[in-house]
Amino acid sequence: MKILHLYYDLMNLYGEYGNISAITRILEKSNQEYELDKLTINDNIDFSAYDFIYIGSGTERNQKIALNDFYKYSEEIKNYISSNKLILMTGNSFEMLGKAITDCNNKMYMGLGVFDFVTIEQNKKRYTSDAIFTTEIQENPLVGFINKCSEINGIELPLFDVKMGIGNNNNDNKEGLHLANLFATHLTGPILIKNPYFLEFIAKRLSENTNNFEVCTDYLKYEYLAYEITLRELNNRFENK
């Protein structure tokens, strides 16, 4: 099993490395051997060698530096996604997959063009919010936090319904992006730590994609408790608003 943490030193706004820690721990507990590569700009990458890829959230400037490097892998990423392999993208990293990103100075950066959506940034207001997102892929909603200054238009395949928080754009109650085993959301930080059910879901997909190993979740005690408390706090907040 090969895991890739891509742009690990550039797209790391807020404890994103926790997502990799969560994946490698569940593999260890499930008695699976794995190799972890942490790669960044100017590395030569053979995407087809990996079973799971993760890219986290970055500052707007860092995202452009990552995009400048990522752009050349457009075909490889299209092939990776269409071959049903797992890729998780959090925060503004998935904006790179669209047609273009326009920054606050109106400068346009070409995206990988895997999808037709477009992203527009501004520098006046930070959109931040705690979030509860529901989804058809699993019963338990996701909890987390949004921290962005962009709006995305033209996403046809969202991942979540917004119960609390912010959608892909300010008029949208759909969030994220989902195609095959690509899971993308603007939630920032260690979402696989904060959402043990989602971690289990991802690990099961990884298992189905590889050697059908049995996913071990016995060790997730405090993770579930923490999740329940955060969900409770957020629901209280949501209902009393």
Binding site: G18, T59, V143, F145, C149, K194, A226
Partner: protein, 441 residues
Amino acid sequence: MKKFFTILLCKALRFFGKLIGKGSSMPGKIALKFCPDILKKIQLPKYIIAVTGSNGKTSTVEMIAHILQKNGKKVAWNKEGSNQIEGVTTLILNSCTLTGKVKYDILLIESDERFAKYTFKYIIPTHFVITNLYRDQLTRNGHSEWVYDAIKESIHDETQLILNADDPLVSTFGYGKDNVIWFGADKLSTDTEEFDGVYNDGVYCPNCKSPMTYSTYHYNHIGHYECKNCGHKRNNTAFTINSADLQKGEIVINEKYNISIALKSLYNIYNILSSFTVASIVGINENDIADSINNYILKNGRVVTFTLGKRQGTLLTSKHENSISYNQSIKLASDDKDGCDVVIIVDAVSRKYFTSDVSWLWDIDFHKLNNQSIKKIMLVGTYCNDLAVRFSYTDIDNSKIEIIQDIEKAVDMLNNDRKEKIYVITCFSDKEKFLSKVKVN
């Protein structure tokens, strides 16, 4: 006439507000509604010193005020810490005559980073200290580059900048300016050659985004850096900490001034250095500055000692959502060679706004608590389970860790015969919940 009435109104509101325990931002807020450009009409003193940055603002401003006042200067400053335009307006209107002349030698303003551009629209600082830019309250502030852009909008050409040379992002404020005053530390005995934290915000140059190299790290991304691509590097400093002995509690500034420090943390010494710098610029004799700041104990209550039954403890106020603040507290506790117990409380993430986000726990160097002298670690509060998960990703022995949600119960459990000193690490939002149950010394 409008000026006269606005000042009178603000003074009256402040006077009556104080009687009923109201904060210091309301009078300014109402004054600004009544006369939005009131600050433009005020006759200001010769020195207007502003201080901003992620960490250390309040302590730095308190120490600057202390040094200046001790040396005969009349200083008006926002000591209640209301650091947005409303609080600053209250400060200024209460510091001036009814005809609008500030009655003090020096106006000293702690300013919120994101809102500095509004505060300094009419009040143009003569000097502007920028302490550092860290990951800080990301749920509210975005991130440090976002905050950088907001501060940049507040800087006027005629203002002299006083910058932390050891912070690569802060240093770029100095581009294109030839009169910047730089402060920083030489290589210190506590430095590391390799980066040893959980995240590194100094990997890429803030100017050109090429990889940077460091010859020494003081802590996190604070150190001596250089970008080979664009030439961005640490500037030589006019005000310098040459050495720091944190065990003994002594630093040397500008190779001449030995200063004893009460709070033995690295970022406290930066606060001392920047206040030394400001006082020197204002014209205070440097020997007198050193005397005034020697062994100074901060009054802002960040460090509180307490007694719990037979046990002694220290509460280190740290900022939730600010990993560097936590790291400094962790370092203080782990440097205690006599052996200690550490209590970490995360009950409400913020006192000012709601969030349940705990991503910031993953940015804290909790692994540095894996230390012989730390005997027990208690994780307390609503978010104790999140803390437990975070600690399960360190090498710290499980048998040292206890997880107690209820603060009162945790206090009961700590009230025992153990000899170890207790360090409590928590935030403004949670510290009273603990201190109300022990005897504050």
